[in-house]
């Protein structure tokens, strides 16, 4: 049909999907070396820690890897032999606490995201309203959220509600702010383009404004996911009788350093897994944002 087809175009074709270009060279040998070095490093830290706990510093303050391991085992499994441990992992106790924290986190995330998206979009599109309320929102936004926790406990009790509200508040502001900006900073050129194609108001919204704002919503949610966990755990530490935050604070209250470390290890594993999942989801959803070089 066209002559343009017969000519091999002098363009570099980027690879499929092309997620993080920076990571690619580290695959293979270099990656293996990195991994091994990391393992050795962590091992060395553990050895030094163990040595220090036995010879230099009172384990009351720093516990020791062996003790933390024992506490972890006690927390995560029931039984003494490795076989029993394997069968009984994770223990109902651990599941109980984890589930509680997850529940707060996920509900906080859902409510916070919903509210943040709706309010952000409305205020972003309704310019006058947005300008009117913006300073107020900034004022609350700049308040350390932790300071709100006692108020929420007062209002919503020491049950799960206050934790959900606290987590949702943190999420709300992150998502709200992103959505607000996203709904305001819609590329006018894109709007003009579809208007010339004959788009009506609704089509301009659905084809350009909403998707454009949604990419900002995603960015906000991406940011908010780890914070929703922070919110849940912090609220638990203030007043609760279950959850990961409770495990940390109750161990600390009993001067059980090993128990604190064990709960921290669990928390670390949880947050690393969550962040990994979010990163995966992001690279799928926001593939178009990857800039090829």
């Amino acid at each position: 049909m066209s002559r343009a087809l017969e000519v091999e175009l002098p363009v570099e074709r980027p690879g499929p999907a092309a997620p993080s270009l920076a990571e690619r060279p580290s695959k293979g040998r270099r990656g293996l070396v990195l991994l091994l070095t990391r393992v050795v490093l962590v091992g060395a830290i553990l050895v030094v820690w163990q040595y220090a706990a036995e010879r230099l510093i009172d384990p009351f303050w720093i516990s020791s890897p062996a003790e933390v391991w024992a506490r972890l085992r006690k927390l995560a499994v029931v039984g003494d032999s490795p076989w029993e441990a394997l069968v009984n992992f994770p223990s109902t106790d651990l599941v109980f606490h984890l589930r509680y924290t997850f529940q707060e986190m996920i509900l906080g995330l859902v409510y916070g995201t919903l509210a943040g998206t709706v309010v952000g979009f409305v205020l972003g599109r309704a310019r006058f309203l947005g300008d009117l309320i913006n300073p107020l929102i900034i004022a609350i936004y700049s308040l350390p959220k932790l300071a709100l926790a006692p108020l929420f406990i007062l209002w919503f009790g020491i049950g799960i509600e206050s934790k959900i509200v606290f987590s949702a508040t943190i999420v709300f502001f992150l998502v709200f702010y992103n959505t607000f900006i996203g709904a305001r900073e819609v590329d006018q050129d894109l709007v003009d383009v579809v208007r010339i194609f004959g788009a009506n108001r609704f089509q301009v919204l659905s084809a350009i404004v909403v998707p454009s704002a949604l990419t900002w919503v995603f960015a906000g949610v991406r940011l908010a996911v780890p914070y929703s966990l922070v919110g849940a755990v912090v609220a638990e530490m203030m007043a609760s009788n279950r959850g990961l935050g409770f495990l940390i604070s109750s161990a600390a209250n009993q001067f059980d350093t090993g128990g604190v470390f064990a709960a921290l290890v669990v928390l670390m594993i949880v947050s690393v897994s969550i962040n990994g999942l979010v990163g995966r989801g992001e690279s799928v959803l926001l593939r178009w944002k990857v800039v090829s070089r």
């Binding site: 066209s2 074709r13 050129d189 894109l190 383009v193 194609f197 998707p211 178009w288 990857v290």
Partner: protein, 290 residues
């Protein structure tokens, strides 16, 4: 295939209904596609007025290929924005097929200087955008998109996102997206500026072929005088800011033109020189003003 051809020649167009859209008002006057009648446009940069267009009188004839050249910042793009109804003139009026342009002019296709692709849509989904707005779905949509993907030589890149393409490829997606909508009139603002010389030649050829095939009216803004002479029926020289029509020159080079050879026609050289003389003064003056 036949469906696509009919679409190309502009007969099966959905965008161009028989009745003029309600948003174009005023009494029709025949014989002109676009008229700029005493048009002036002033912008405000804070408190200082910037007169982009001083006073422009210009009639764009139906089916012609009009080239517009001028020094940078002379309001060439503003003229296109006015024709597209994206902005209104400060003084005078812009008419499209005799009707006053008061709102966005959906009868034109506008390729802006920026490629303005929708970043979260793939190549094919960007090209499909105007069809989706018209409510076209299913096989017919896919056929048209595939046809235009091929036309601009982007086969194999359908599922790439704009961020994964080179500047030249993005321009071609923009061209395909404009053409798929089959507008009566094409407004092109330096559409091939970012392309390398080879690709430009191909795109010139393609543009002329499409124009000869469909007899659309094309207004082509460029800073490249040779490109304007090469393609256009008439070339308009706009003066430095505030822009005025300085010279309108008929380009009497024979059609169909061979874009690779027409440069060596002695008439091409004469036309180029005459236009350059008019343009050159202003380019230098525009430079001093800065």
């Amino acid at each position: 295939m036949s469906q696509v051809d009919r679409h190309l020649s502009g007969q099966a167009s959905l965008a161009t209904g028989a009745a003029p859209p309600a948003r174009l008002g005023g009494a029709p006057s025949a014989g002109a596609t676009i008229e700029f009648v005493g048009v002036a446009k002033r912008f405000w940069k804070g408190d200082t007025p910037v007169d982009a267009i001083g006073h422009v009188e210009l009639v764009v004839r139906p089916g012609e290929f009009l080239g517009i050249v001028g020094p940078s910042g002379c309001g060439k793009s503003t003229l296109l924005n006015l024709a597209a109804g994206l902005m209104l003139p400060t003084a005078g009026e812009v008419r499209y097929q005799g009707h006053l342009v008061r709102d966005v002019n959906t009868r034109v296709g506008y390729m802006t200087q920026k490629d303005s692709l929708v970043p979260w849509r793939t190549v094919e989904s960007n090209i499909a955008l105007p069809l989706e707005i018209r409510g076209l779905r299913g096989r017919r949509k896919r056929e048209l998109v595939a046809h235009y993907v091929e036309l601009v030589g982007l086969k194999g890149f359908e599922r790439h996102f704009p961020s994964e393409l080179s500047g030249g490829m993005r321009k071609r997606v923009g061209l395909a997206r404009t053409l798929v909508n089959d507008p009566e009139t094409l407004l092109m603002d330096e559409p091939f500026g970012a392309l390398d010389a080879q690709l430009r030649l191909l795109m010139h050829e393609e543009t002329l072929r499409i124009w000869e095939h469909s007899r659309k009216t094309i207004i082509f803004v460029t800073h490249d005088l040779a490109e304007a002479v090469l393609l256009a029926d008439r070339v308009v020289v706009i003066s430095a800011r505030p822009g005025r029509v300085k010279l309108i020159k008929d380009i009497d080079l024979p059609r169909p033109r061979d874009v690779a050879r027409v440069r060596f026609d002695p008439r091409f050289g004469r036309l180029f020189e005459e236009l350059w003389a008019a343009l050159g003064e202003d380019v230098r003056r525009g430079d001093e003003n800065r």
